[in-house]
């Protein structure tokens, strides 16, 4: 059952106000253990989709199923939220307690876990994100990247099946971004947690197993990073960047080169260019 769909939306529509549909007929299935990146320009409905996955919002039409539970079912609310953790953009506004370990414990306290077990799981989660030495610090003293790792620890401690991260690196400096991205990849590799990463950094999306591009409330591209980023024109039209390497390859091809449009990494690109240059000489 390793390939079952844990998040599954069927003809899902959503509107905040009547007559103004934000999400239109979305059918997205996310498999267990998959690392999905969700892309789209500002206002395309990414955050709205995220909030539909953990029953903060419920579909106005169609359905959203999480682990076989319908998010419209009020009785399953806390089961759903415990299994779909969420991390937000602003690290300051999601930390509840004034001491790191107490914040990590917050979710477990809410779900009524016995105190001794909370202690154990909090320590484990803090070690997992490399913030154990900071357990009795005040979050105010930490950098943005460290705060984000605390927020992630608070979610890991709840042992969810899935984590949805809504632009978690948007407010961080490059060093913080790197740390947080390493932590996010660890979630899948070490804990087998399904990750949905909303981002507008292409280098983050390149590392995903799957990339979905949303535009005006509809998925327009869906596939492996290689497949998705080869559609340079479509991406540009929706106002998105493409990874630098893809952009270079795309431009060279326009000038008559014949490079593989699915090239994504610098190494691949360098190898392909070296090959072309050698051919040109001989």
């Amino acid at each position: 059952m390793s390939a079952e769909n844990i998040i599954s939306s069927k003809n899902l529509c959503f509107s905040y106000e009547q007559g103004k549909e934000i999400l239109k007929e979305i059918n997205i299935d996310i498999k267990r253990g998959e690392f999905t990146a969700l892309l789209g320009h500002n206002g395309s409905g990414k955050s709205t989709f995220a909030r539909l996955t953990n029953a903060i919002l419920v579909p106005t039409k169609g359905s959203m199923n999480v682990f076989g539970m319908d998010t419209s079912d009020e009785g399953k609310l806390y089961d759903i939220r415990q299994n779909v953790g969420m991390v937000f953009q602003n690290p300051d506004n999601q930390i509840v307690a004034a001491v790191v370990e107490e914040d990590v414990a917050f979710g477990l306290e809410n779900t009524g876990v016995p105190p001794a077990e909370i202690r154990e799981r909090v320590d484990e989660a803090l070690k997992a994100v490399g913030m154990y030495e900071y357990r009795d610090h005040s979050p105010g003293m930490l950098s943005g990247g460290q705060k984000q790792r605390i927020a992630i620890a608070g979610i890991i401690a709840m042992r969810p099946e899935c984590i949805v991260l809504d632009e978690p690196t948007a407010m961080l400096d490059p060093a913080g971004r790197k740390d947080v991205m390493r932590t996010i990849r660890m979630l899948g590799e070490r804990y087998g947690i399904t990750v949905v990463l909303i981002t507008h950094y292409m280098d983050e999306a390149v590392r995903a197993d799957r990339v979905i591009v949303i535009d005006e409330g509809k998925p327009i591209l869906d596939g492996t990073p290689k497949q998705v980023f080869s559609h340079v024109d479509i991406l540009k039209k929706t106002g998105l960047d493409v990874p630098q390497v893809t952009e270079l390859v795309h431009k060279l091809n326009r000038y008559g080169f014949d490079l593989d449009p699915q090239i994504l990494t610098e190494e691949e690109c360098a190898a392909a260019l070296a090959f072309v240059l050698k051919e040109g000489k001989s």
């Binding site: 953990n54 903060i56 806390y78 939220r81 415990q82 953790g85 969420m86 937000f88 602003n90 300051d92 506004n93 999601q94 930390i95 509840v96 307690a97 004034a98 001491v99 370990e101 107490e102 414990a105 917050f106 979710g107 477990l108 306290e109 809410n110 779900t111 009524g112 876990v113 016995p114 105190p115 909370i118 202690r119 909090v122 009795d136 610090h137 005040s138 979050p139 105010g140 608070g154 979610i155 709840m158």
Partner: protein, 267 residues
Amino acid sequence: MLKDITIDQYFPGKSIVHRLDARFKIIITMIFIVMIFAADTIWSLMTGIAFMLLSYALTALKPSLMVKSLKPVVPVLVITAVLNMFFFEGEEIFRFAFISITDEGVKNAVFMLLRVVSLIVGSSVLTYTTSPVELTGAMEKLLSPLKIFKFPVHELAMMMTISLRFIPTLIEETEKIISAQKARGADFENGSLKERAAAIVPVLVPLFISAFRRAEELALAMECRCYRGGEGRTRMKQLKTGPADIASLVVSFFFLAAVFFIDRKMK
């Protein structure tokens, strides 16, 4: 300047005071407040202060932190002391033009000063050694009998937890906004009272907007982490009462009794 406020800061440690049950710490602090206000003679007040210094010594925190907690209130202290000096009837000991200082006035000023200083230092013994969550958790427990009157005890404790968490964030933000406005030429130091009050408005408006945005995002994050009020909630740090708690409570009562006894003797 705003950063000097340490009143709600927690300094983690392993001292005996740190390890006391937070409920007892709150009760002992209250006993101490009674001591300070009941003390009528300098000797009883000194007894109260001795109790405070003893507690502070047991926290193993740097004495400089004690001074730090007083720094922001120095102007208030000076003003109250001076006013006290002038406005008490009694035997005149000093006169300059229309200014007259009486012995009663000086005595009152000194008392006032000692009381306020002890109050601040005494309550910082509590807040320095108790994490905000423990503190509010203990308050929740102590106030829990009020639940039968439908008093929202848990909600109050949660509100305090969040306030303590966000005070430093909002102070930092205020300072940022002030610098930003100064960089655009706003003047907070000069001008009439009215002009200075007007200069505060462009600081308060963005601060309020940001505070509401934070509140909204925090509420969402709490909901996502399964928050649903106090019902069925557990706590990682259990409040445990041990011999040390009972002993420190007994010692506090002993000092309280000493204060009353000394007052009766000295009068």
